[in-house]
């Protein structure tokens, strides 16, 4: 019985400790950000690794999510004779929810896990320590550019996701389902507000990008320096990113559209 409580207590203290260390880590990384202005090449490299290499999966999934939404939405809307509103349905669900959230989940799985594995392996092979030895701050050289690149890449990826999703939905609904092309766009334009819907989606994806890259670099930096530790850190990145994104999404949605 006492063992049970002890275990619970240890876990609680552990997770608070991790939260504290994570916050300290974030502050130190943010302090390293201004130095990046002198070395934009570092950020560009990470934009390539995080953004460009995630582009394919984002584009393919965006298109397919949009096409599936159109097919499913059509089946429901056609019973009410409201299939003209298909564009509204697809655009609002993509811009407000699916765009930012699915992009963030894919981002966590594709880019976040790679970041954690990379930094974790750097730690395991003591590259981070040898950098410190050479008076190179790994916070500024390794962590800060990755954090910034993730923060910048996420909204762009989410915008590409939503845009291609709407395009995919447009192709399916006009070519396969016979929805009128003009009604599709005009109803969408009448219902979608730039500030309310598009900008709130961008804000969501900025928040998700920040949280996802924070979790990814922190888990890598905090990993136990063994091969098992790195593998566990990578798993934790994906799990924690997904949970954080879904939880934050609820909070943000309640604040923005509640």
């Amino acid at each position: 019985m006492m063992g049970l409580f002890a275990g619970l207590g240890r876990r609680t203290i552990d997770s608070f400790g991790r939260l504290g260390r994570g916050t300290m880590f974030l502050l130190r990384a943010l302090a390293g950000m201004p130095g990046l202005l002198l070395r934009p090449g570092l950020v560009m490299q990470q934009l390539y690794a995080i953004g460009v290499l995630s582009l394919l999966i984002i584009m393919v999934s965006g298109t397919f999510v949009g096409m599936v939404l159109a097919l499913q939405g059509y089946n429901t809307l056609v019973t009410f004779g409201a299939e003209q509103s298909l564009g509204v349905l697809v655009a609002l669900s993509l811009l407000r929810e699916l765009g930012p959230v699915v992009t963030a989940l894919l981002f966590g799985g594709r880019a976040g896990s790679a970041l954690t594995a990379e930094i974790g392996l750097m730690k395991t092979t003591e590259q981070l320590s040898s950098m410190e030895m050479m008076a190179v701050d790994p916070m500024r050289r390794i962590i800060a550019p990755r954090l910034l690149a993730g923060f910048l890449a996420m909204p762009l990826l989410a915008a590409i996701f939503s845009f291609l999703g709407i395009m995919g939905a447009h192709v399916v609904s006009t070519a396969a389902l016979g929805v009128d092309d003009g009604a599709f766009w005009s109803q969408m334009q009448a219902a979608v507000d730039f500030r309310e819907d598009v900008m709130n989606g961008v804000i969501k994806s900025l928040v998700f990008g920040f949280v996802a890259s924070w979790i990814a670099v922190y888990e890598g930096y905090d990993a136990v320096p063994t091969s098992e530790g790195v593998s566990r850190a990578t798993t934790r990145t994906v799990v924690h990113t997904s949970l954080a994104v879904l939880g934050l999404d609820f909070v943000l949605t309640a604040v923005m559209f509640g």
Binding site: G51, V52, L55, A91, A153, L156, S162, F163, V192
Partner: protein, 154 residues
């Protein structure tokens, strides 16, 4: 060096594609093209009941959208709804004796303000004017009630 260059090009393409997508969403998907209504003039009108009218609902003349509802308030003294609409500047020749009604588009669609032009006067609406002839929204329950009372009189 060559590799660095290719990477730079790809990042450039990525950033450009991202902003292009955002731009496309703004222009093609959202109502940004109709956003120029900001340079319009405001006209007030009072209704006894606005039904389900919302801010940003369209204001039409002969079915053509000429502006949007920009504000809805309640007059504390007369208990009427004061609706402020912003009409685009290019529609600046609406007669002052026009009347405004709240209609519903379609059976269950959203409600909008329809302005029917008067014609007797040479004065045109300008910023801050008020339309005095208004007809509020038809509330279904009231309609049914009126129908039932008229049935009872027979």
């Amino acid at each position: 060096m060559q590799k660095q260059r290719i990477m730079e090009i790809w990042v450039g393409v990525f950033v450009a594609a991202g902003f292009a997508a955002l731009f496309g969403l703004a222009m093609q998907v959202s109502n940004i093209p109709a956003f120029q209504t900001a340079d319009g003039y405001q006209v007030h009108m009072r209704f006894d009941n606005i039904g389900g009218l919302r801010v940003r609902a369209p204001v039409t003349m002969a079915g053509v959208r000429v502006g949007r509802v920009s504000d809805i308030r309640l007059d504390h003294d007369s208990f009427e709804a004061v609706v402020t609409v912003t009409i685009e500047q290019r529609f600046d020749r609406i007669p002052e004796d026009s009347d405004a009604r709240i209609y519903t588009s379609g059976l269950l669609g959203e409600q909008y303000v329809a302005i029917n032009p008067g014609g007797g006067v040479e004065w045109y609406l300008s910023d801050g004017d008020e339309l005095f002839q208004t007809q509020g929204a038809l509330v279904l329950e009231r309609l049914i009630g009126r129908f039932l009372t008229s049935m009872g009189e027979d």
